[in-house]
Symmetry: C2
Subunit: 592 residues, 2 copies
C-alpha cells in the first residue's frame, strides 16, 4: 500500500525526529552523550552571561537552554545544531526591550518572554508558509558586517563589568564617552580579576590544548578539558570572591539565583506591547534564522547530510515558543556551540536533548553555588567569545571584489555601531536591495561581433571581431523590466541616429530573462521609431519563457524583422542583405 508510506514520509518531514529515532542505537547514544556533556559544560557559563547581556536575570539564560533544546530535537533537521541563548540575539533582545523604557525588572522579563513568543510564532508561520527564501535577502556581506559590528558593541558593553563602573549610551560613541567619564570609579579588585580571567580564557583557547597533548592526554580528553576553561574560571573566581568576601569590597556578584525547575510563563497579550515589539521580533527571527541555518548547512555538508531550511524555521520557531513558556528569552542556533557539538561527535538532535537534561540538573542543583559568581567573570567569558566574531577583513575583501558589496558592508557596520542593531541591519538589507535595483536599472549593453573562425559573438570593445556595416547587434545584459525599459529605449535611439548605413538592428536576447509589460511597451515604441527610419528590428536567442510571453502579445507580428534561434543564423541571413524591408528614409530625413 502506498498511502501509509506516503503519509509517514510526510509526517517525517514535519517531525524530523521520526526519521532518526527509529534507527537510534547504542553507538549513537554514546556519541551523543559525550557531545552533550561537553556542550553542557560550555553552555552553563555562556547562558548565564548572555542573559546578563540581554539585561535579564541570570537564571533566564539557564531556562532558555532547557525546553527550547527539546523542541528543536523534535522539530529541527540539523544533526549538530546546538540551540540556546546566543550573543547577537541577546544584544538585539537588550536593544528591543531597552527601547520600551520599562522600569521594573518583572516587566522587562515579561517583555523578553513576549519577544520570544512573537519571534517563535513568526518563525513557525514562515516555516509553514515556506517563506525561508526571504532570509536570502540578507546578503552575506551584510550579515558579516552586522555580526562584526555586534561583536564590537557586545565586547565594549562588557567593559563596564570588567571595570566595575556604570555606563550607558545609545550608541558606541556615547557609551565609550560614558565609560571614560566613570573611569575614576573603577573597582581595582574587579578589574584585576576580570583582566586575569580574560587572559586565562584566551590562553585556554590558544595554549592549553597543545600543552595537554604534550602532557600525554588523548586528543579528546585535551579537547574536553580545554572546553571546560570557562567553567574553571567561574569556579575559581566564585571561590576567591567567597573566601575573601570580595563583594564587600565592591565586586559585583550575580547574587541569588532561584533553584528549581523552569517556571511556567505566558507571554503578555497587550496589543500595544506587541506593536512596539513587532519589528524587533521580525529582525531577531530573521537574523537568528540566517545565523543558525548557515551553521547548520556548513556542518551538514561536512557529513553529506542536508537540512531543510523551511523545516528549520519550524524547529527554531517551536524552540522560541518553548522558551517563552518556560521563563526563557529568544534563542537560536549558536555558531561556536554547534561546532563544539559537531566536533565532540554529536550524531543526532538527541545530543541537544541530553544537553537540556544537563542544564536542567544545573538549574536544580548548582544555582546556590552561583551566588558569589562575579559579574566580571561572565563579562570576560562574553568578551573572549564575541571577539572571535569580529572580522574587519570583510571590509577589505568586499572593497577589492565589488564596490557595491563594500558599500553595503560599510553602511551596515557604521550604522550598527552608530545607531544600534535594528537600524544597522535594516539599512544593510535596504541598501543592498537598492543597489541591486540601481544596477539593474542601468544595464550593461555590449555591441557584439563575430569571433573569426567560430559561430560565437562577443563585445566589439573587448575582442577582435568581425562586424557588418549595415547590421548592429546589441546584447543587453539584463532582464528588461520597468526600471530599465526607458534606458533601453534611449540607448537604442541614440545608437541608431548616429549611423546612416544602418538597416538592421538585432537584439541578442541571451541575457534577457524577462520582458515585463513596461519593457514590452518600450520595445514597441523602439520598433515604431525604427520603422520610421527604415530599420528592421530582429531578435535572436530568445529564451523559452520569454518567447512564450512575447507570443501572447502582438509585438512579434509588428516587427519587420525576424526572431532567429541562434545569433549565427541572424548573421548568415542578414550579412548579404544591405537593404531594409521598406526604405522611407529619403523622404523622412527632411523632418529631422
Amino acid at each position: 500500500m502506498n498511502l501509509p508510506s506516503f503519509s509517514s514520509v510526510s509526517l517525517e518531514r514535519h517531525l524530523p525526529i521520526l526519521s532518526w529515532a527509529k534507527v537510534y542505537d547504542k553507538d549513537t547514544l554514546t556519541s551523543d552523550l559525550v557531545a552533550a556533556v561537553i556542550v553542557t559544560i560550555m553552555l552553563i557559563p555562556q547562558s548565564l552571561a548572555y542573559a546578563l547581556l540581554a539585561g535579564l536575570p541570570a537564571e533566564m539564560g539557564l531556562y532558555a537552554s532547557i525546553l527550547p533544546l527539546l523542541a528543536y530535537a523534535v522539530f529541527g533537521t540539523s544533526r549538530a545544531l546546538a540551540v540556546g541563548p546566543v550573543a547577537v540575539v541577546s544584544l538585539m533582545t537588550a536593544a528591543a526591550v531597552g527601547n520600551l523604557g520599562l522600569d521594573s525588572p518583572a516587566e522587562y522579563a515579561l517583555a523578553a518572554i513576549t519577544l520570544a513568543f512573537m519571534s517563535g510564532v513568526m518563525l513557525t508561520v514562515m516555516g509553514v508558509l515556506r517563506l525561508g527564501f526571504l532570509a536570502n535577502f540578507l546578503s552575506h556581506p551584510v550579515i558579516a558586517g552586522f555580526i562584526t559590528a555586534s561583536g564590537i558593541l557586545i565586547a565594549t558593553s562588557q567593559l563596564k563589568h570588567l571595570l566595575g563602573v556604570e555606563a550607558h549610551g545609545h550608541n558606541l560613541v556615547e557609551f565609550i564617552g560614558s565609560l571614560l567619564a566613570h573611569l575614576d570609579q573603577t573597582n581595582l579588585i574587579t578589574l584585576v580579576m576580570g583582566a586575569l580571567t580574560v587572559g586565562f580564557l584566551f590562553w585556554v583557547r590558544k595554549g592549553l590544548k597543545p600543552l595537554l597533548r604534550k602532557a600525554g592526554l588523548s586528543p579528546r580528553m585535551a579537547d574536553i578539558l580545554a572546553k571546560a576553561g570557562p567553567v574553571a574560571a567561574v569556579a575559581a573566581t566564585t571561590l576567591v570572591t567567597w573566601l575573601f568576601g570580595l563583594h564587600n569590597y565592591g565586586v559585583a556578584i550575580v547574587g541569588e539565583v532561584p533553584m528549581g525547575l523552569p517556571p511556567l510563563t505566558l507571554p503578555s497579550l497587550n496589543p500595544e506591547l506587541w506593536g512596539q515589539l513587532a519589528l524587533s521580533a521580525l529582525l531577531i527571527s530573521v537574523i537568528g534564522f540566517v545565523e543558525s541555518v548557515s551553521v547548520a548547512q556548513t556542518l551538514a555538508a561536512k557529513k553529506r547530510q542536508r537540512i531543510v531550511p523551511d523545516q528549520e524555521l519550524v524547529g527554531l520557531g517551536t524552540s522560541n515558543i518553548a522558551a517563552s513558556l518556560s521563563g526563557g528569552y529568544p534563542v537560536t542556533g549558536g555558531f561556536a556551540r554547534s561546532v563544539v557539538n559537531f566536533d565532540a561527535g554529536a550524531e543526532t538532535p538527541a545530543a541537544g536533548a541530553y544537553t537540556a537534561v544537563g542544564i536542567l540538573l544545573a538549574a536544580l542543583l548548582l544555582t546556590p553555588l552561583l551566588y558569589f559568581l562575579p559579574k566580571a567573570t561572565l563579562a570576560a567569558t562574553i568578551i573572549v567569545a564575541v571577539l572571535s566574531l569580529v572580522d574587519l577583513s570583510i571590509l577589505s575583501r568586499s572593497w577589492s571584489y565589488s564596490r557595491m558589496d563594500f558599500a553595503a558592508v560599510a553602511a551596515t557596520i557604521f550604522l550598527t555601531l552608530g545607531f544600534g542593531v535594528e537600524l544597522g541591519v535594516s539599512a544593510g538589507v535596504g541598501i543592498s536591495i537598492g543597489l541591486f535595483l540601481f544596477k539593474t536599472s542601468r544595464p550593461h549593453v555590449a555591441e557584439v561581433g563575430l569571433v573569426p573562425g567560430t559561430q560565437h559573438f562577443r563585445n566589439v570593445l573587448r575582442h577582435s571581431v568581425q562586424t557588418l556595416p549595415h547590421v548592429v547587434t546589441l546584447r543587453v545584459d539584463e532582464s528588461l523590466y520597468f526600471a530599465n525599459a526607458r534606458f533601453l529605449e534611449d540607448y537604442i535611439t541614440d545608437r541608431v541616429v548616429r549611423d546612416k548605413q544602418l538597416r538592421h538592428i538585432v537584439l541578442q536576447f541571451t541575457a534577457v530573462n524577462e520582458v515585463d509589460m513596461s519593457a514590452l511597451e518600450s520595445l514597441e515604441a523602439v520598433n515604431h521609431r525604427l520603422k520610421d527610419l527604415g530599420i528592421a528590428l530582429h531578435l535572436s536567442e530568445v529564451k523559452g519563457p520569454v518567447m512564450d510571453r512575447l507570443q501572447r502579445s502582438h509585438f512579434l507580428d509588428e516587427i519587420d524583422g525576424q526572431v532567429f534561434l541562434s545569433h549565427w543564423d541572424a548573421w548568415c541571413a542578414l550579412k548579404d542583405d544591405p537593404k531594409a524591408p521598406e526604405a522611407p528614409l529619403a523622404g523622412q530625413t527632411a523632418a529631422q
Copy 2:
C-alpha cells in the same frame, strides 16, 4: 576658441530657452500664437474646475496657470508640453491637504502653496542631481492602474456637485454610501443643468467636429470651435443662472472671484507642516513628473525631437516654485492639454508663455463674469475630462501578458479606490519591486544540449538536442546575487547527487550579468562540494564585466575546470573526456 562654445552649450543645457529663442521667427510666432489661443480657451474652465477639485478657491487655478507656464518656457525642454493644474495632481493635493484636518480656508490654501513649493524644490534638486531615473521604478502598468483609479475617484467625487448634495468619505465605498444617503436632498435644477452640460460636452467631443466639417468649416476652425465647448457651456450656464436667479433656488455657484494680478505668496516654513506634507510632496512630484515626461516624450518623438528628462525635472520644479510664489498650487504637464497644444501647431515653449498671458488677461478682466458660474458646470467639465483617463482594459491586457504585471495593476487600482491615492501608488511601486525581487530570487535554470548541425545550445526540455552522459550544462537565467545565491547552491547540489555518471558540470554564464560577493561564496561552496564528489566545475561564455570581477577573486584558481570562451569550445573539449580531474568517488560514496 573652444571654451566659450563649450560654456554656451552647457548654458543651453540648463536654460533650454537659449537654444530656440535665437532662431525664433515670424512663422513660429504665428503657430505658437494660434496654439496659445486654443489652449487658453481650454484652460480657463479647466483651471477653475481643478482648483475646486483640489478643495481650493477657483482663482488659485487661474494663478497656477500663469507664472508656472513662464517658468516652464524658460527651463523646460519639451516644445509642446502644456503645464498647469491637472486632474490627478489636484486630487492628490486634495488628499494631502485634506489629511491635515485644517479648518480655515486660508490655512488650507497655505498648505497647498507649501506643497507646491516643496514639490518644486524636490523636483529641481532631483533634476540637478540627475535622479530622473528614479521615476522608472513606477512601472507602466502601475501608472496606468493609478490613473484609471484616480479618474474613477475624481468622476465620482464630482457627482455631489452634479446632484447639489453634500457627501464625504475616505474611500470610494464610504463616499458612495454618503452620496446615496443624501440623495433625497438632490437639487433638481442643479441636476438637470449638470446632466445637460455633461451630455453637451460629450456631444461636443464626439459629434460637433464632423458636423462643423459638413457645414463647410475648415478643419482647423472646426477644431477650435470644438475645443471651445467647455467655454460655451460655462458661458451658457452662467447666463441662465444669472437670468433666472437660479442661485436662489439652491444652485451652488462659484461666487466672488477676486479680480487682478496673482498675489505674491510665500510657503509656510513650519517644520511640522513640512514633515506632514513631505511624503505627499514626493508622491506628487514623482507622479506629476512621470505623467508629464511620458506625454512630452510621445509628442517629441512624433517630430524627432528629444527631451532631456533630468532637465524636465528642473522645468517642472521651477514651475511649481513659481506656482507657490504666485498663489497657485502643484502643477505638471497635462496630457489632453499638451496634445491640443501640439495638434494646434505649437512649435516652441513660447506658446506656453502666450497661454500664460491669455490666462492673465482672464484673471484681470473676466473674473467678475464668473460670479454666477454654477459649480455643477465645472463638475461636468471635470467628469467629461477624466472619464477619458479611465481605461480598465489594462486589467485584461496585463492579465493575458503577465500575472506579475496584473498583480501590480490590480493592487494599485484596488488600493487607490479603497485606501486613497497615496497608499495606492506607493503600494503599486512596492508590489512591483517586490515581485521583481521575488522572481529574480528563484531564477529559471535550463539544462542545455547541442542543437544538431549547429554550434548552438538550447534547453533539453524544449528542443531536441544532443547531450553527453558525463557532462551537464546548466544555463542559469539570472544574475547571481544574494537573493538567489543559496537557490543556485541547492539546485546544483540536487542535480549532482542523482547522477552517478557525471564528471563535468559546466555553468553557461550567458545570462549571468553580475556575480556579487554572496554568489561568489556560494559558487565557492558548490566548487568544494563538487570537488569532494570528483566532479569538475567549468564556466563558459562569461561576460567581460563578470570575468573582470572573478579574476580579482581566488575562485578561478580554485576550480578544477576551465573557463571556455564559447560553449561550443566546452563541448569540444569535454566530449571525449569522461574522467574527472581527480576521481576520489569510489572511496567517498561510502560516506553517503
